[in-house]
Amino acid sequence: MSLFVFGAFMLLQENLQHFLTGLGDQIRINAYLEKGLGTSDVQSLGVRIKTFPEVERARHISQEQAWLDFSAALGAQSSLLDGLPRDALPSSFEILLKPAYRDGPVVEDLANRLKKEKGITAVEYPQEWIDRLSLVVLAVQWTKWFLGGVLFMAAFFIAGSTVKLAILARKDEIEIMQLVGASEELIQAPFVLEGMIQGIAAGAVSVVGLWSLFRFLDRQVASSVGLFGASAQLQFLDLKSIALLLAIGWLLGAAGSLFALRRFVRTWKS
């Protein structure tokens, strides 16, 4: 039960992370090129750009393409462009950054360095969008920690009281074992063992529960159009997380039982 809560948190975390990455993909730097640059020049510039460590991908957008994109963006007012020549817009590179570098100052720095490249006339990046994104990241981060804290407390509390109930129910047993001279190890063994088994079982149940919940949600989401593309795809926990969940269950079960037992035996007579 307590692990279920924990697992739910991990699932959420995973998906939020994924969602953020999806958002981050929309941070793109546009580097506009000089007019009349030859194809080979464009290609070598593309290669050059890709050597920057921050760059994930760079896509060349021809003048043609730029024109089409722009008029699509203008929508109803595309008639505005009727008077302009087709090559009014410069060709450009659309640069996608690696996740780690999607941060205001880094982007600015990169933009400055790109500006110095031969063949590039201007560099544009969505300053406002980047700032917003970092705020969203921050908010999500905080929400995550906040929720995580609450859930962790809840999980801990639940685990604690489960163990307490188990011990209270077997108080007499412990006392009598002590009176007939059983060693401490012998008294503790069944509790620790039970704790371990219960911990793993709880972990397994949680994983299964989460999985079915996940399937349900996934289907719900899939049925509403996936406009976010890949980023709207829900992610389930990977194998490592599942193993971690089970391990935590195992440890928490064993350690919790032992800890509670010792404390309990100590305060026995009070």
Partner: protein, 229 residues
């Protein structure tokens, strides 16, 4: 075997249960601890199996000082002692047989052997029919006999019994006493707290009378005198 030197026990805040008790009990002795209610009989037994520590004085068992023991030492001590409590203290979820066998398993006896031994003891004490019953479904006297069987299953060096016949009719009490006497033949020291004067008169080879926490009387009856160690 059991030696008490100037033992005083004061329960906080100020209830003095035992005062300057000085005793020696030899190996294989059969001793009754008599005295009115509240005299300190149970307290004396509790000191011997280290449920309580003496406030003052020293207690030696087999020459070893038991006032300074860690939890491991206490466990080792208790394995040598068979205990019968005034309140029985049986595990409600185990059957009578399992309750008795458990005490044997705890000291490392294999399961089969401990069960056989437990069954044998229950039969001798008159519970042949009810060995499979849970304690809560047993009558008071039946529970008491299960507790007695549990105390004897490990062939302990010492048996400490607190009112072992308080819930038994005369016949069952006699059977129990005969069992104690039989155990004693192996050299087991037996110390029984009781106020059943009838019983004491019939079986007591030595009677230690407590009164308000002091040894008021220590009577050896010559005809049944055990070897004092």
């Amino acid at each position: 075997m059991i030696q008490l030197f100037h033992v005083t026990k004061t329960y906080p805040p100020k209830s003095q249960a035992l005062t300057d008790v000085h005793l020696e009990i030899g190996k294989g002795e059969f001793v009754f601890l008599a005295g009115p209610s509240g005299a300190g009989k149970t307290t004396l037994l509790k000191l011997l199996f280290r449920e309580e520590e003496p406030t003052e004085g020293r207690i030696l068992i087999d020459g070893k000082n038991i006032t300074r023991l860690n939890s491991r030492g206490i466990a080792r001590l208790r394995r040598e002692i068979g205990l019968v409590f005034q309140e029985f203290k049986l595990l409600p979820r185990l059957s009578a047989l399992e309750n008795v066998a458990l005490a044997a398993e705890v000291v490392g006896m294999p399961r089969r052997e401990s069960q056989t031994k437990a069954y044998q003891l229950l039969r001798e004490i008159g519970l042949r029919d009810r060995y499979d019953a849970k304690p809560l479904t047993l009558s008071g006297g039946e529970q008491q006999r299960v507790a007695i069987a549990r105390a004897l299953v490990n062939d302990p060096l010492i048996v400490l019994a607190d009112e072992p016949t308080g819930n038994l009719d005369a016949e069952a009490a006699d059977e129990t006493m005969r069992l104690f006497l039989k155990i004693r033949e192996n050299g087991t020291t037996i110390l029984i707290a009781s106020h059943d004067l009838e019983l004491i008169k019939r079986y007591g080879s030595r009677v230690i009378a407590l009164r308000q926490g002091r040894v008021a009387d220590d009577l050896h009856r010559v005809q049944q005198e055990g070897s004092v160690g």
